[in-house]
C-alpha cells in the first residue's frame, strides 16, 4: 500500500482545482512566479521560458525539433504537467489544422510582470514605512519560527503511545488549540484515551514526522486551506493560496505593512502567527515579518532542514547564530548526522533530542539510553510495526542515510561503499515485501470500448501522458492512475468527429 499514505502535497491540491481557479490565481505575478519556481521540473521550465516571449502560438511539431530523440519520453510528461497546471494551452487535434501550443494569457502576463517588474499589483508585498524595532533581527525571527514549529512537531510526537520518555519537553506548552484542531481535522492525530494528551498519532502523522520541514509546512497549510474551503467557500481559499505564494516571495528580516492587505488576508494573520510563518510584534500590529518557514515555502524542498537537524539546531541553543535555522542548510544538515548502523542491524544514535529519539523509536527496537546516546536494533518486528503505521521502507532508508554520522559517510567514501550497509538496506526492503504481499494503487479501470480503434487511441494517449499502469489488448481494458485528462481527451475527440 503506497498511495494512500503519502501525505497530502501541494501538487495534489493544485491538480484538483478547476481552470477558472487557476486563471484567478495567475492574476498575481507572485503566484505565477512561485508556481514556475516550485512546481516545474527543469525541462518544463525551459519550455515556459522559451514560450514566454513568443508572439504567436508554437506548432507542436516544432517542439520536436527542440527535443533530442532520446529526450522524447521526458517531453510528454512535462507537457502534461504544464497542462494540468493550466500554464499552457494546446489546441485539440483536428484534421484540418496542426496542433499549436501557447502559454495561457494570465500566466504569461503575470510571469512577464514578475520578471520585468513594474505594474501596481503590489503582488510582492508592501514594505512597512514605520520604524522597525532593532531587536527584531533574523536570529530573533529564526528562534521564534523554530519554537513555534517544534511545538507542533512535539505535539504530534508526544501523541505516540509507546514511549513515556518521548514526552521530555514539558516546557513547550504546545501549539494553540486552533492548530491542534487542524491536526485532528487533517487526521495527523486522532482522539484516543490511552495517551496522555488524549490524542494519538495516525499513519499520516508518522509520514508527516519523517518529511522535510518544507513538506510538513505545506501539509499543514493545505489542511488549513481545505478547512477554509469547507467553511467559507472557494473564493476565500484562492486569495489565501495566493497570499501564501506572496509570503514566499518576501524578504526575510524585513517589515511589511498589514494595512495593505485585503480583509481575507488580514484574517489569516493570527493563524499564520500560530504556525510560526510570520511574526507580529506585540506593540505594533501594523507590521508583520515573514519568517524563514514562509520565505522558503517555494524554494526547492531538498535544500531545507529535516526534523532532527532542525531540532539539534534548536537544542544547540545559540541565539546569536543566525545560520542555525539553515542559511547554510546543506552544511548544517550534513554535520548534524548522528546515527551509526552496523551490518548486524545494531543502531547507535548520538542524540539526546526527544524528538529524534521518538522518531527512531518508530522503526527501531531501542534497548538502552545513555546521556547523549541511544542504542537499539532494527528487527523484523520493529520494521514490520513501522510499516503497519504506514511508513515505507524507502522512508526509513532515506531517513537513516540522511542522518548517518559523518564518520560513517567518511568510512564509506574511503572504502568506496554506500553509506548504509547494503545487507541492512536489502533486508529492510525484504521485510517490507514480506508484509506487502499485494501492491495496490488507486485509480480507474477503463472498459467496454465501442471499437478497437477507440481503445487503441485512448490507451495510447494514457501511455503518452504517463498514467497507464496496466493494459490488456485482448480484453480491451486498461487501468490508469488518473482520469481527468483522459476524459478531456475523449470529449475533444468526440467534438473532432
Amino acid at each position: 500500500m503506497s498511495t494512500a499514505q503519502q501525505s497530502y502535497q501541494l501538487s495534489d491540491y493544485l491538480e484538483k482545482l478547476p481552470g477558472t481557479t487557476f486563471r484567478k490565481l495567475y492574476q498575481q505575478p507572485s503566484t505565477a512566479f512561485a508556481i514556475f519556481r516550485r512546481m516545474l521540473p527543469p525541462l518544463a521550465k525551459i519550455f515556459v521560458q522559451a514560450l514566454l516571449y513568443m508572439p504567436a502560438p508554437l506548432l507542436l511539431s516544432e517542439l520536436d525539433v527542440w527535443v533530442r530523440a532520446e529526450g522524447k519520453m521526458h517531453r510528454d510528461p512535462r507537457l502534461s504537467i504544464l497542462r494540468s497546471l493550466h500554464i499552457i494551452q494546446i489546441t485539440p487535434p483536428g484534421k484540418d489544422r496542426p496542433q499549436e501550443m501557447q502559454l495561457t494569457t494570465n500566466f504569461k502576463n503575470s510571469l512577464r510582470l514578475a520578471l520585468e517588474g513594474g505594474g501596481t499589483h503590489n503582488s510582492f508585498g508592501v514594505p512597512s514605512t514605520l520604524p522597525v524595532d532593532p531587536r527584531i533581527d533574523i536570529a530573533h525571527l529564526d528562534n521564534y519560527a523554530r519554537k513555534k514549529w517544534e511545538d507542533i512537531l512535539h505535539y504530534v510526537v508526544n501523541s505516540v503511545p509507546v514511549h513515556g520518555e518521548a514526552g521530555g519537553g514539558g516546557s513547550a506548552g504546545g501549539p494553540k488549540s486552533s492548530v491542534k484542531d487542524l491536526l485532528l481535522v487533517g487526521h495527523l492525530v486522532e482522539r484516543r484515551h490511552d495517551t496522555r494528551g488524549g490524542v494519538g498519532i495516525t499513519q499520516a502523522g508518522f509520514t508527516f514526522l519523517l518529511q522535510e520541514a518544507n513538506a510538513q509546512v505545506w501539509t499543514l497549510l493545505l489542511q488549513w486551506l481545505e478547512a477554509a474551503d469547507r467553511a467559507k467557500g472557494k473564493s476565500d481559499s484562492i486569495d489565501m493560496l495566493s497570499f501564501l505564494f506572496m509570503l514566499a516571495s518576501l524578504e526575510l528580516g524585513r517589515a511589511y505593512n498589514t494595512d495593505a492587505l485585503t480583509e481575507t488576508r488580514r484574517n489569516m494573520l493570527p493563524a499564520l502567527v500560530d504556525f510560526g510563518l510570520i511574526y507580529i510584534p506585540r506593540e505594533d500590529t501594523r507590521q508583520y515579518f515573514p519568517t524563514r518557514l514562509a520565505t522558503t515555502l517555494t524554494s526547492s524542498a531538498s535544500a531545507l532542514r529535516s526534523v532532527s537537524s532542525g531540532f539539534s539546531a534548536a537544542t544547540a541553543n545559540n541565539p546569536g547564530d543566525a545560520s542555525s535555522l539553515g542559511t547554510t542548510p546543506d552544511t548544517s544538515a550534513a554535520s548534524k548526522g548522528s546515527i551509526f548502523i552496523e551490518t548486524n542491524y545494531r543502531l547507535y544514535a548520538y542524540t539526546s533530542s526527544p524528538l529524534q529519539i521518538a522518531v527512531l523509536a518508530l522503526f527501531t527496537q531501542l534497548s538502552m539510553r545513555f546521556p547523549g546516546m541511544v542504542t537499539g536494533r532494527l528487527t523484523r518486528d520493529s520494521i514490520r510495526r513501522a510499516i503497519g503505521f504506514g511508513i515505507t521502507a524507502d522512508q526509513i532508508i532515506s531517513y537513516l542515510a540522511s542522518h548517518a554520522h559523518e564518520q560513517m559517510a567518511r568510512a564509506a567514501a574511503a572504502a568506496g561503499r554506500p553509506v548504509l550497509p547494503p545487507t541492512v538496506v536489502d533486508q529492510i526492503r525484504l521485510w517490507q515485501l514480506e508484509n506487502e504481499r499485494m501492491r495496490t494503487s488507486a485509480g480507474f479501470l477503463f472498459k467496454d470500448f465501442d471499437s478497437a480503434e477507440e481503445y487503441v487511441s485512448l490507451s495510447g494517449y494514457a501511455e503518452e501522458i504517463g498514467v497507464l499502469v496496466w493494459r490488456n489488448d485482448r480484453k480491451r481494458m486498461f487501468y490508469a492512475s488518473k482520469f481527468e485528462q483522459l476524459r478531456d481527451y475523449l470529449k475533444s475527440r468526440k467534438k473532432a468527429e
Binding site: N344, R380, T440, F444, F446, K447, F449
Partner: protein
Amino acid sequence: MVKAVRGVLVECEPAIKSILVHIDSTHHNEFIIEDLDETHLFVKETMLHLLKQKLEERLKETYRPEEPLEDSE
C-alpha cells in the same frame, strides 16, 4: 460506451492471487470487481482494508518466517 470504474489495482504473485480469489468467493464476491490476469485484480476501494486483513489471517495459519539473524548480546 466506454466506462471508467473507480477502484484499486492489486498486483501480486499468482499464489497470493488465488488465495484472494478464494476469499472473494467465500464472501459473496464482495471484494473483487474484475479479475484482470494472472497477477492483477481490480478491487473495491472500500473493501481493500478488510481484504488485506483476511489475507493476513489466512497467511498466519500457514506461514511463519524466521528472524534472519540472531544477535549475541
